[in-house]
Symmetry: C3
């Protein structure tokens, strides 16, 4: 996936549902995990106002600033590493009867905190 | 489960142990996940003072306030969504020899941040 | 594992890779979880400056202080419980073709927030 902004929340629920259908798994799990250490995978509400709240909140919890030790390496994205840790980077989605067995409002999202680069998410479906 | 207060921590360890026994699984995992996007499932200490510390801490980390974007939808619970993200909403509990293979103090809890409604947790046991 | 300091980040990636090789699993997962409720298992960057940033950040997010309710029990480590909750305590690492299927910078670490005691991590590899 290509992200357009430095910080962005991207819905990936449909891709996960497609992977579940394609797998033919009836009883099991879809594992979804960010392969980049400055991004997150999480389950929450499909509401764009809330996504803005999440990004604003993360800026308070783990602000962009210049004096991180990590920046001695030449990187400038320590805040993005911390944001990922606060949010978590992977989820397991249960599958029952061939479909995702989630609550009525649970949707899967990718959270990018150091984007504008090509990014990957791994989806692994297992079960029977 | 019915929660009595808006914010509450509820022990669910016994229910999970019962599900493991009932499943007959000897080697595998119990997956436990909150089906509501304003609540959490987590593993920590069975000590009520700590539960109070957790709720107080979450109020500092992600406070109730009126000016969240999410509230334009008519909802007033954006803080509960953020609290869930900070705490995580699911755990995998390893099973060895037919019982939960946890550290001596590890117990499973449900954290409700927008309660007084009927809430559901999914428990899925898998393995052999 | 023995931790030398109260708060410390310990690389455990090699141990996990060894367990995967030893298991012979080609397609599956390595589950890694802290068995102590004041410690964390997480995936991030193998860069010691960032580890310092993480520990400093956790001190801001969940500071050591005396007035936690949990301390009425005689314990003095409520902050370590909160740090673990903020960071998460377990990860699933996908295995494809017999090796860990991670992003280029993803490495596994143990985060200890109340150390100088003997600590355990459970590694459970499953699949085919």
């Amino acid at each position: 996936m290509d992200t357009k902004k430095r910080k962005e929340i991207v819905p990936i629920h449909d891709e996960v549902e497609r992977a579940v259908r394609k797998s033919g798994v009836k009883e099991g799990f879809a594992f979804v995990s960010a392969m980049h250490i400055t991004s997150s995978v999480f389950v929450n509400d499909n509401e764009s106002g809330l996504w803005q709240d999440i990004l604003k909140w993360l800026e308070e919890v783990a602000p962009e600033k210049s004096d991180y030790e990590h920046h001695r390496t030449g990187e400038t994205n320590a805040d993005a590493h911390l944001k990922r840790l606060a949010m978590g980077h992977q989820v397991m989605l249960p599958i029952t009867g061939g479909v995702l067995d989630l609550g009525p409002w649970e949707k899967v999202f990718y959270g990018e905190f150091d984007g504008q680069r090509r990014k990957r998410v791994i989806i692994k479906v297992f079960g029977e």
